[in-house]
Symmetry: C2
Subunit: 470 residues, 2 copies
């Protein structure tokens, strides 16, 4: 919780020009903006799977047409000072890398590994320098990626005041202890749970899910976190109609679902990847018998999505609010969160729909940048995920033995008439794991000369800070 | 077998300047070279796994420092004219894409899907225009990647005259028919098996493995394919000492192993990824009992590699031969083949060692390019592969149930003191599958303005053809 100016941050601040507004007049031509779009879990496998479905095997996504493309080295360390490398990240420590320029340990929200010091975020720097700021996500706004841009807490699951001391998972027959953030509680002089930190923040626009984390009482207990947010000046909304009607002028907090927003797409009849079913004989010996693979399926709209603001609609509103009468500029983070969340649940159609949502938000961002030339648009992922695009017909299909994944498999009928097989096999638990490959980074023309072909993830922070002159 | 000038090829030829040597004098400053380095199966997961081991989590590979980086869309179709997309490639059809600019079907070597027409390769175009050509690989020189730059045949396994009609796999209790290329046999007017096509080719340097495919009699039966190669003018060598002594002047065919060259690295005591071993109780119910994961291991030199020419040594020799007294230039393809072959066998240390080999060959190529300015160096992969970098400690480790991959797992001790977990789980067969994600492409500064951030794999052909003015 101590306030640490990281070395990267201190250097960036020292090197930045003293860029302050010279006049009170509106002069949007001098404003500078960063729009950072994060596809959670959106590695090369997820992108290719989505491209094949959405645009066809020879098609192109919008991000494919961006003029700058790089690879980002994802970095994580153990939870101690100078901890050894951890080769697979979580969304909390990667968001911390991007938001603060500092490598930290899994689960941490803008706090340092081992020493638990608060790390200055780009949102804080931008606010101090007079920029507006916004966070848009399809997850709970208290979830790791958005949280790390504003909040400082030792563990990502401490999303609301009821969870700040200890987090349990109700496994039915027993509670499982998942950790806690006792030292971060306000009663101990800490900044409190994530929702309470957001309610007290100076962020101009916060849009996403997570109403349940604002419905609980604050630590002080005088009312709900949502009431606190209102008292702190937020205009609060909770549905699509309100979103479309909302006018710039006041800080806006939109919470459109109890938890994460519903997925846009699902598998036919809500199917996800399934285990191939070997015959009894094949269970006795892998060279005998046969296997029944999951039936092929199309993707279809998820009925639960109806009435949910799309990522594009939230982005539209956020941009209106951030750009109105603003001669300084802004920082906006937009997350398509459930590429990852659907992959954890072995739901390839879910992930595909959320890449489509990201593409639409990107379209809006690029259109904005076309009208506001000093706008850096970045698209990246935080880490890679379990889904693998595998052969529909095994490379070894000539061999007269059943060949199939030991994990879960979905076989998706693509609109162009092919069948695409997607495999999930990092574990047999209820949720798949992340994986550790480098992730893509795309930029619009403002990124030329600023983004090198290969960069460590914390360098994203430095690029954005430098662009805004922070 | 019919000779098809593809549309891409025809356009490229039409658009190319009539670049012929103006004088007989040596003028190496005017020579142009393309050095194409292919890491077979070297997707982002393999690269990150290798980087973590070879350079450390925060380290950089040589390819990471190249000034141009793009993503390549891997494309495959069914084996019929205008076939539907196939979402996962094999090395034959991807090499055909790169070598000829034409998308084809799995298993095909520079022949068209369905119509089986021969596709003109960059090696053929380069030779016709007076450039020297070379192929270097750690696989058999008759294997798919190298073959597709020179040979034309309907099925990659027809590597020697004994295999041209039919290929069987001896499964012990029975033979398994894997296909054949009867229409390609010389006795039917075809070009013959791959080794025979290589022996009759005009390639200036061919280095790799595959001696057994040259030890068999030619179709005509007057002697071995190796004798044919000698009769056609090749100087033939078969060991490291000969390679180091070899002098430019004559076409060179070096075959340094019976099949593929041995891997440089292996797991401790030759271990590869292994199946986690669940307890009896865990077999009864996934929430019960425990699991024994494979012991961690280091990587170590593979004793069988001793005396094998490294990819770097072969590259050194190839460059000497191709550049000597050459005022026109050359095309050289260098393949680190066993990144893929080791991954098929669930051997992560094997793949890591072969990325290291690629890095060394790249070092040689970049040093050459530094002395010969008009040298385009490209590094890419043909397709992605099964290996996944997964968490050493599950994301869900707080849950008191055994969580482990249903596939094969290796836990590798890295030199920097971490443990890196690598998962293989596309199937439970003796060989893992390929996967379908886009692959990286790197270029030296000659690629700036020539390589766009995202390109279909066949465009690699067009870029190289254009660079050489073919």
């Amino acid at each position: 919780m101590k306030y640490l100016h990281s070395i990267v941050c201190a250097l960036a601040v020292a090197a930045a020009p003293a860029a302050v507004s010279q006049t009170g007049q509106e002069d949007t031509t001098h404003s500078r903006q960063v729009i950072l779009i994060i596809g959670d879990g959106m590695g090369e496998q997820q992108i290719t799977i989505a491209r094949n479905y959405l645009e066809g095997a020879t098609g192109r996504l919008l991000m494919d047409n961006m003029p700058v493309r790089a690879a980002v080295q994802v970095l994580t360390i153990e939870d101690k000072p100078a901890g050894k490398p951890v080769y697979v990240a979580d969304s909390a420590n990667t968001a911390t890398s991007i938001a603060t320029g500092v490598i930290t340990s899994p689960g941490r929200i803008a706090t340092s590994a081992g020493t638990d010091e608060d790390l200055t975020t780009i949102v804080e720097l931008a606010e101090s320098a007079g920029f507006r700021t916004g966070l848009v996500t399809t997850a709970s706004v208290t979830d790791a990626t958005a949280a790390a841009f504003v909040a400082h807490i030792s563990m990502r699951l401490c999303e609301n005041p009821e969870l700040v001391d200890e987090v349990f998972y109700d496994a039915g027959y027993r509670d499982i202890h998942l950790g806690g953030c006792p030292q971060d509680a306000r009663k101990r002089g800490g900044p409190g749970a994530i929702s309470e930190q957001l309610a007290r923040s100076s962020v101009d626009v916060i849009l996403g899910g997570g109403a349940r984390h604002f419905a609980v009482r604050t630590e002080a207990g005088h009312g709900s976190v949502l009431e606190l947010a209102r008292a702190e000046g937020f205009h609060t909304i909770d549905n699509l109609e309100q979103l479309q009607r909302s006018q710039p002028g006041r800080p806006l907090l939109g919470l459109f679902a109890s938890g994460n927003l519903p997925l846009r797409l699902q598998g036919e009849a809500a199917r996800i990847a399934e285990k191939p079913k070997p015959s009894l004989l094949n269970r006795l010996h892998p060279y005998l018998g046969s296997v029944t693979l999951p039936e092929t399926m199309a993707c279809e709209p998820n009925p639960a999505f109806k009435g949910t603001p799309s990522l594009k609609k939230m982005t539209d509103t956020a941009l209106e609010h951030l750009a109105a009468d603003n001669d300084r500029g802004f920082f906006l983070m937009i997350e398509s969160a459930s590429i990852d969340k659907a992959a954890h649940k072995r739901n390839p159609c879910g992930s595909i729909g959320e890449v489509a949502q990201l593409e639409e938000a990107l379209h809006t961002a690029l259109a904005f940048a076309a009208k506001h030339p000093q706008t850096l648009v970045l698209v990246t992922a935080d880490h890679t995920q379990a889904a693998q695009l595998v052969p529909y017909t095994s490379l070894y299909a000539q061999f007269p033995v059943p060949i199939y994944t030991p994990g879960h498999l979905a076989r998706i009928e693509t609109p162009e008439g092919g069948v695409m097989a997607v495999n999930y096999a990092t574990n047999d638990f209820r949720r798949e794991e992340h994986t550790g490959a480098a992730v893509p980074l795309y930029a619009n023309a403002e990124g030329i000369g600023r983004v090198s072909p290969f960069l460590p993830q914390p360098e994203l922070f430095a690029i954005m800070v430098d662009y805004l002159g922070l």
